[in-house]
């Protein structure tokens, strides 16, 4: 399984040269197995995907974690959506009151978007995520609601014995320095458990977090603690704050790694990187 990081930034895209190393595109990763692909989230990173490589299938599956703008803002602009031969399946969490289609329609319609959802040239199929694991080709997909404002899920994608967990926006505990002692009280635990790779929110340092409790994001410390508790084999720190330059973010990471010891690899997510598990 190959995982390509097309968008690693949170909140909004950046084009400054100070953020170019880690990348300015918002959340999007691509998972490839042989000639099959899954796309997770549709931030501006989706515009980097080469739809003429790996798989030229007419069907494209996009799994959304939630509908915050940084996870959907590429949806209306990626090439296949304007191709009438393409069948685009969008999966996402249902809401308490409004169905996924209605909530997506708020973005993919005037005045925020010039074209109505029903007028998009490709065949668009919108699915609310089932409560059970399901298969798309070779991929076994599990989604679970996680702590983040609004209906938000994390994903675990499995092919054979290999698995990747993707929880880009996550505040597992509110205003606490550590996770609850019992594993079953940890949001995202099941998704991350024994994963070969965990791609996880890590937006804030401790000082920033104290001013942004309840915003739905966490510190590097909490991301690493979750990874350790869940015995994930490798952690990629994701969802970089757009206000953080590469230099600042790298220093933050170096300070964090200097102060802690872990028995699994941890790295910062870099736009354009490809990870094989």
């Amino acid at each position: 399984m190959r995982i390509k990081l097309h968008g690693t930034r949170g909140a909004y895209p950046t084009s400054s040269k100070e953020t170019r190393k880690l990348g300015g595109n918002t959340s999007c990763i691509e998972i490839i197995e042989d000639n099959e692909r899954l796309i997770l989230d549709a931030g501006t990173g989706i515009l980097e995907i080469d739809f003429d490589s790996y798989s030229t299938a007419n069907r494209i599956d996009i799994l959304l974690t939630h509908l915050h703008m940084d996870h959907i803002q590429g949806l209306g602009f990626f090439k296949p959506i304007f191709d009438p031969n393409k069948e685009i399946h969008i999966w996402g969490p249902g809401g308490s009151s409004y169905p996924l289609k209605d909530r997506l329609n708020k973005f993919l319609s005037p005045p925020l978007f010039p074209v109505m959802l029903r007028d998009i040239p490709s065949k668009l199929v919108i699915h609310e995520l089932p409560n059970e694991p399901f298969k798309l080709g070779k991929f076994l997909i599990t989604s679970k609601f996680v702590c983040h404002p609004g209906p938000t899920v994390g994903y675990r994608i499995q092919v054979g014995s290999k698995s990747v967990a993707y929880i880009p926006d996550h505040e597992p505990v509110l205003n606490k320095a550590h996770l609850f002692k019992e594993d079953k009280w940890i949001s995202g635990f099941d998704l991350s458990h024994n994963a070969d790779l965990l791609i996880h929110d890590s937006q804030f340092n401790r000082e920033e977090y104290e001013k942004k409790v309840g915003w739905g994001h966490c510190t590097m410390e909490i991301a690493a603690e979750l990874s350790k508790r869940a015995k994930a084999k490798r952690l990629v720190m994701f969802h970089h704050d757009p206000a953080h330059t590469d230099k600042y973010r790298s220093e933050m990471f170096t300070n964090f790694m200097t102060a802690h010891t872990f028995d699994f690899p941890i790295e910062l997510a870099v736009q354009g990187h490809e990870i094989e598990i």
Binding site: N131, F145, V146, C147, F180
Partner: protein, 132 residues
Amino acid sequence: MSAHEIEIILSRQLADCLTVPVFIVDPEGTLVFYNEPAEKILGKRFQDTGEMRVGDWGNAFQPHDKKGNAIPPEELPLVSTIQTHVPAHKTFWIKSLEGKSFKISVTSIPIIGRSKEFAGALAIFWDNDLKL
């Protein structure tokens, strides 16, 4: 082992912040969490007891009516909510650790999240003599 549903986890995070006693039960009625103010009612600490089955916690604080007649667990609001999946409320008496009766009101609500599945219930205990 499976982690609790997110709504139960969030309920605990809320309960942790409250000064009113809160119980959280799973769909089987097992008391999966109670906060510090609730520890004073039960006379037990969550970190010591862990989860408690319905028969254990239902009788632990000796619920009774005005005349001193015991109230069986199935008539307690939280147990009622577990069985019916609808909110319940009741005022009754419990015994303190010193054996003194005091009047409390309990309101329980079902926890049904976006998956539309019944994840458990949460009850707030209001001590009618409590001065917060």
